[in-house]
Each structure stands twice: as structure tokens, then as C-alpha cells.
């Protein structure tokens, strides 16, 4: 007794050799006795042959050199993984962080040294000198008018 005809899906998969061995054998036996299915199978098989005989299209030039150039022009690709990412970072990647560190060190140095700056000596001006006939720094009209004992230098707080 002949088995029922296989559906198109099974017949197509049969042509591709993608069926389990038992199903494949069953369809093969069916094809031997069913002219309708054998004709259908022949058509599918012929289609495969037609595809196989299509001209082999080729690109016609070496694309690898073009791709090599384009890859080299790209920024360095970050590899996967934390360690690899750090390793992939070249010295230029550290520039901004280095510049920031130098700037903050310099600022600290300037501020620190200002606290221990040398003592600034204020000019010796007596409080009463504001009432003197000659303004501080002015020319003396005579030797006696400008003669005053020099006050002791005073430190600024």
C-alpha cells in the first residue's frame, strides 16, 4: 500500500536533505511509486540545478586593502573588557587628567606660599604726621622743619 503524498514542505526539505532519516526513506519509497510526486520532486530538483549553474558573481577587486585603509583611518576601537579598555587607551588619553593635576598643584603652591610670605614693612609714618606742614614725601622747606626722630618700624598684622 502506497503512503499518502507528502506535502510541499516535506518534499522541499527532502530535496535539501533536511529530513530525519526515517522520513527521508519513507518519501523516497513514495516517490518510486507516485508519478505525480516524482514530477513535483523533479521540478524542485531542477530548480536546485538551475541555481547551481547561475554565473558566479565576483566583486572583481581586492576589497581587503580598501577596508584596511578605512580601519586605519578610524579612531582606535575600544576592545571589550575593563582591563583591555585601559590598555587600549594611549598616552593622549591621559593628557586632560595630567593638565588638571598640574594646575591644582600649582594653585596649591601659590596659596600655600602666600601664607608664609616675607614680612612687609610699612613706611614709618607717625599718626601726627598728617598734621605736619609738609605732606609725607614732600620737599622740606628747611632743614629744621623736617627734622623729626624716626619712629620704630611697625609690623603689619
Amino acid at each position: 500500500m502506497i503512503e499518502p503524498c507528502p506535502g510541499l514542505e516535506d518534499l522541499s526539505a527532502y530535496v535539501d536533505g533536511e529530513l530525519p532519516a526515517a522520513v527521508h526513506a519513507r518519501i523516497a519509497a513514495h516517490l518510486a511509486g507516485c508519478t505525480a510526486c516524482a514530477a513535483r520532486h523533479a521540478e524542485l530538483a531542477q530548480l536546485r540545478v538551475a541555481f547551481a549553474s547561475l554565473p558566479d558573481e565576483r566583486l572583481g577587486f581586492d576589497l581587503s586593502q580598501v577596508v584596511r585603509g578605512r580601519i586605519e583611518a578610524l579612531p582606535t576601537r575600544r576592545a571589550t573588557g575593563r582591563r583591555s579598555r585601559w590598555r587600549a587607551m594611549d598616552w593622549r588619553g591621559w593628557l586632560p587628567m595630567g593638565a588638571a593635576a598640574i594646575a591644582s598643584l600649582s594653585l596649591g603652591l601659590v596659596l600655600g606660599t602666600s601664607l608664609v610670605a616675607p614680612v612687609v614693612v610699612a613706611p614709618a609714618i607717625s599718626p601726627l604726621q598728617v598734621f605736619a606742614p609738609v605732606a609725607p614725601g614732600g620737599l622740606c622747606p628747611g632743614l629744621g622743619s623736617c627734622w623729626r626722630p624716626v619712629a620704630t618700624p611697625r609690623q603689619l598684622p
Binding site: S12, D16, E18, F51, L59, L63
Partner: protein, 185 residues
Amino acid sequence: MTIDDDAVLAARARDGDSPAFVELVGRHQDRVFRFVLRMIDSRDDAMDLTQETFMKAWQAMPRWRPEARFGTWLLQIARNGALDLLRRRGVVGFEPLQPDAPFEDRSPGPERQLRIRQRYALLDLALRQIAVEHREVLLLREVEGLSYAEIAVALDIAEGTVKSRIARARAALLEQHRRIGGENG
């Protein structure tokens, strides 16, 4: 060229080894070109798309996993690029039949060669006139020789769907081939 060699090179490329990737380009360029050419039917666009496929692959290499066969993974990228291009052209989906479209005879020769070329041309034309989802699955199976499991990965569909889609694609192609053949001869 073996699959194992591909896997070794791909693993090196994934770690940033560009010469290894360039080697892979040389191995797979014709395969990718052939596939996209038959998908989009334009030699110039196919050349550009082949190049872009490899550049996208290079950028995506860190995401490649050894479980995926490199050639299949590459065709998946090429296929996505081809679909994008077809979408921009507005032709994704079922393309209306063009019964008046002439088939191309590239180089006339002896009568027998002419008949063979006409047969190729008929198949090419029929292939262009079936739905994109049928065309791609047939190209992957018949031209690239991928197994159902590999096609399932490349198209991101179930293996059972691959089986039924290939069967429907073959039926559609045969029907289209008969129609064009009847009109031209």
C-alpha cells in the same frame, strides 16, 4: 578556507587585530557581494553595500561570539543592509509583476549558449520578482548553501519557519518562472 580558520581569525579580530579582520575580508568578499547583488539587483549599490557590510562587521566584532559561524554572521549583517536599502527604495514586500520586463542577454554567442543564458536570465528575473523574504531564504539556501539551522540564525526565525518559507519560496519561484517563460517563449 575552513570554518575553524575563520573562527580563529574572527576571535583575533574581536580583540582588535585588524590584519586578522582584513584576512577575513579577503575570504568572504565575493560571497557577501554575490548575496547582496542578487538581493538588491544593482552592481554599484552591491559594491558599496559589500564594503559597508565589512565596516559594520568590524565595528560589531566585539559583539561576535564563537558560537556564531562567522560567514553566517556576516551574511546576517549584509542582509540587514540590503533590507535597509530596499526599504529606502520602497520595494520591500511583494514586488508587482512586470510581464513586459525584458530579460537581459549580456553576451550573444552560439545558439546553445544563448539558450543557457536565457535560462539564467529567466531565473534571475523570476528571482527578482518574488517577495524579498522568499528571495533571501532561497539565496541563503541555494546559492550560499546554508543549512536550515544556519538560515534560522541568519534570519532570526525558527527552523520550522525556515522549512515552510523555503517551500513557499520555491513554489512562488517556479510559478513566476513559468509565467515569464510562457510570456517570453
